[in-house]
């Protein structure tokens, strides 16, 4: 069973409870669907009951405020027991007839994985029986709902795309660069990275490329597939690139698969948020391209450094609880530690190797109710929109990151990578602290007077 999770080294404590309460975790197929949505003219397909698709669809629609193409093999009781191949074949044929996508990305669900559908066999059988559909790329990923989570599913879909579509190339295009972009990168982040990479004269191929499909499109006609994203042809040509940037722990397996298949050397980045992390990216790009760093990036770095000097007052020793998908959790907690804040709790929805690297007082695998317990004395909670109920009960401000973010506009366009993205994130969180400190009435001093937390000066007010 290829989908059994790797268990690496240390295991972090799970909440010792049977009822997950206000779950942080989302399912693997949902992550896979998002990865597929970063491929141009793609239609993701869940092999399961139609409800599996409906719920996932609603969640992505609420987050991105975009039409989300997502289909289902509509398994019922009978097909679940007798086997789902017929439903799968019918679904694939119907999709091609109606929508003619360039690629169909299939993700299994708990229903088909409990039955134990042999997806490898079904792929071969389908290709054999349907030679007329040879022009449509097909990618299958095993993503049972009862194992792993959103990030793992995303990673598996990217790995499946690499394994199925990428071809080795006898030649190398010196300016072509692959980027395996993990699910912790928003469409806005991918756009920012494209900007940075292009400033070195390189042409990036992002897999997946959500910046082209999920950042707000205005189609000229109705489309039932993804509109924009990396094309199947571009994916096939990734073997000709000069190097691959692998962003995030959950992209490692895909990165290894790509390197194994194409011999394109890869560079791993555990995060791209923070000054040092951004420096590493820029240094790597300068080395790969042999070009000097653009003036724009130099200005951005200077501005970030200056912003850190202005902002550090408000971050020092702030107690922050963070609950996000593992790689985003790592990026955010590391950035907060970089700024002098204390991460009192880091909560991950799943066990993951990256948790070993976290700098936090408590690291655990849990849900939003665990965050609520751990964040009692916190100054800030960083989590997705589901964190708002608990944050309100505690009276602790919530900075929203990750997915789903259904109570904010432009959720998909937030940028937190590179010098500029780090600066934006630093200001946004810093402003939450600042506004609390400027809010004289809300925090009376023990003396009962008009208390003032900044001690005068640093926040720019004239209080003494």
């Amino acid at each position: 069973m290829s989908h059994i999770q790797r268990t690496t080294g240390q295991r972090f404590p799970n909440a010792a409870k049977a009822a997950s309460t206000n779950p942080l975790k989302m399912s693997q197929p949902l992550g896979a669907a998002l990865a597929y949505l970063g491929v141009d003219r793609c239609l993701p397909l869940f092999h399961g009951s139609q409800g599996c698709t409906a719920f996932g669809l609603v969640l992505l629609v609420r987050h991105f405020r975009e039409a989300i193409p997502l289909q289902t093999t509509a398994m019922d009781q009978v097909s679940t027991i007798l086997g789902g191949y017929d439903n799968l074949e019918q679904a694939l044929r119907t999709i091609v007839e109606r929508n003619n996508p360039a690629m169909i990305g299939v993700a299994t669900t708990g229903v088909t994985e409990t039955k134990g559908e042999d997806m490898g066999g079904q792929y071969s059988l389908f290709r054999q029986r349907n030679p007329d559909l040879a022009g449509t790329a097909l990618v299958f990923a095993n993503t049972p709902d009862f194992a792993g989570g959103f990030e793992e599913g995303f990673g598996k879909a990217v790995t499946a795309i690499v394994e199925r579509l990428v071809e080795p190339s006898p030649t190398t295009v010196k300016t072509q660069l692959n980027v395996l972009a993990g699910s912790h990168l928003s469409p806005g982040d991918v756009e920012e990275l494209r900007d940075i990479i292009e400033s070195f004269g390189l042409s990036p191929i992002f897999l997946p490329d959500l910046s082209l499909s999920m950042s707000g499109r205005q189609p000229s006609d109705f489309t039932a597939t993804s509109l924009g994203g990396v094309t199947v042809e571009q994916i096939r040509s990734m073997g000709a690139s000069v190097a691959t940037l692998v962003i995030g722990e959950h992209m490692r397996i895909a990165g290894a698969a790509l390197e194994l298949k194409t011999d394109v050397p890869s560079h791993f980045f555990s995060r791209l948020t923070g000054l040092e992390a951004s420096d590493r990216l820029i240094r790597t790009l300068a080395e790969i391209s042999g070009r000097p760093v653009a003036a724009k990036l130099r200005r951005q770095r200077e501005s970030l450094v200056d912003g850190m000097l202005d902002g550090h007052f408000f971050y020092s020793r702030k107690r922050i609880a963070v609950a996000l998908e593992p790689d985003l959790l790592y990026a955010v907690t590391s950035f907060l530690a970089d700024m002098g804040a204390e991460v009192v709790a880091a909560v991950s929805p799943t066990q993951n190797a990256v948790l070993e690297k976290l700098k936090a007082a408590t690291v655990m695998v849990g849900d939003h109710s665990d965050v609520e317990t751990l964040a009692r004395d916190a100054d800030l909670i960083v989590s997705n929109s589901h964190g708002r109920q608990g944050a309100a009960r505690l009276g602790v401000p919530l900075h929203r990151m990750g997915l789903p973010m259904f109570d904010r506009l432009g959720a998909g366009l937030k940028v937190s990578v590179g010098y500029r993205g780090t600066r934006e994130l630093m200001f946004e969180i810093g402003n939450l602290f600042l506004s609390r400190e400027m809010d004289h009435d809300a925090h009376p001093t023990p003396h009962g007077g008009d208390g003032h937390a900044c001690g005068g000066g640093s926040c720019g007010c004239s209080a003494v």
């Binding site: 049977a18 009822a19 139609q50 719920f55 694939l92 999709i95 109705f222 109920q389």
Partner: protein, 469 residues
Amino acid sequence: MLQDKIQDVFNEPGCAANQAKSAKEKKKGCTKSLKPGAAAGGCAYDGAMIVLQPIADAAHLVHGPIACLGNAWDNRGTRSSGSQLYRTGFTTDLSELDVIGGGEKKLYRAIKEIVQQYDPPAVFVYQTCVPAMTGDDIGAVCKFAAKKLGKPVIPVDAPGFVGSKNLGNKLAGETLLDHVIGTVEPEYTTPTDVCIVGEYNLAGELWLVKPLLDEIGIRLLSCISGDGRYNEVAQAHRARVTMMVCSQALVNVGRKMEERYGIPYFEGSFYGVSDMSDTLRTMARMLVERGADKGLIDRAEGVIAREESRVWRRLEPYRPRFDGKRVLLFTGGVKSWSMVSALEGAGLTILGTSTKKSTPQDKERIKKMKGDEFHQWDDLKPREIYKMLAEDKADIMMSGGRSQFISLKAKVPWLDINQERHHAYAGYDGIVNLCEEIDKTLSNPIWRQVRLPAPWEPAPARSLLAAAE
């Protein structure tokens, strides 16, 4: 067991569509079989949740892998005036080992934890596909837990793959009939106690209706299930009259309450002026028929007269603004019907509606009301709707959230009238709210701007430019 239940639901004699069917057709059920690769919509579990989750003080525990709750919690606009426990998502989050070794023990522990920590009046346990396949007997676990913990623990046996959302609605209704209704006696009863079935208090809609009932002197004994409390739902058997709101979904509940407890029921609607008045009138009349004070009818007529004159006066300012504006209305069927007359009363022109979920009788009714000119679309594809909108055949589309982008991408105003909506449209005030929302979006200045060509596109004709100034 579950199959028997499903067949029972398919046999529902209270359903108008069903009466016209042969025995063989009945057995096949009321939902068209889903087409793989071209299906949309929720599953039976989703439908069961829609009906039961508004019971606000109960805990709702989903027995399944993470997808069933983790992807889906905290996404409905049903409101509660008291307990917020229904907004807390509970799941057993089944892992690989639970799939292999069975999840019954974990389920019991989860129920126990919830009872100990939250002390709800009841726990609803939802079955899902995976434990249904591996054979977890949630009925037995619930029975055991109820006995051990001294609390009602109710199994909701509607795993997703047994069918559609509509079937799930009905199975949830059966659950209430089997396990909840009739288990608690009210402290006192009155001759004007009513039970409303199929009203979920979305965006607080029930609160636009309840003050009118209070004023007339009708006591809302039990609402299934908007702003619901477990004990109130359990007392529904003492109502004098049942009102069925979304009749297709929970017709089995109304009919069986009549069969078991002799409570007459009627189908009513809170949407639209005349439907709202008819509902109040019918409710008062039926209560009086069952022995309530005759003055009830006069009080109802008094409220109706006052509210109707008030609502038409409040809708008057919209008439000139709505003149000539064309509406595409896409909703589940019955409820749109009650809105049409009110919208037309406010001066809008309704072009047509989808009748995918309507019965042949419904369609006949629409034809009678609206004539042959009026469009009834059975299976309109998104692409076709987009084309109609892009070709300027309508000024606004009203539908559920799923189809919003068809309209918005065509740069045509859109209004959410489905379950995720943020505004309450029920009752007399609700229809004014609806017109206000329509007017707000129709008169928003963005529509002109977003249709302007980009600077690099060919310049528009002079007349268009002038219009844009």
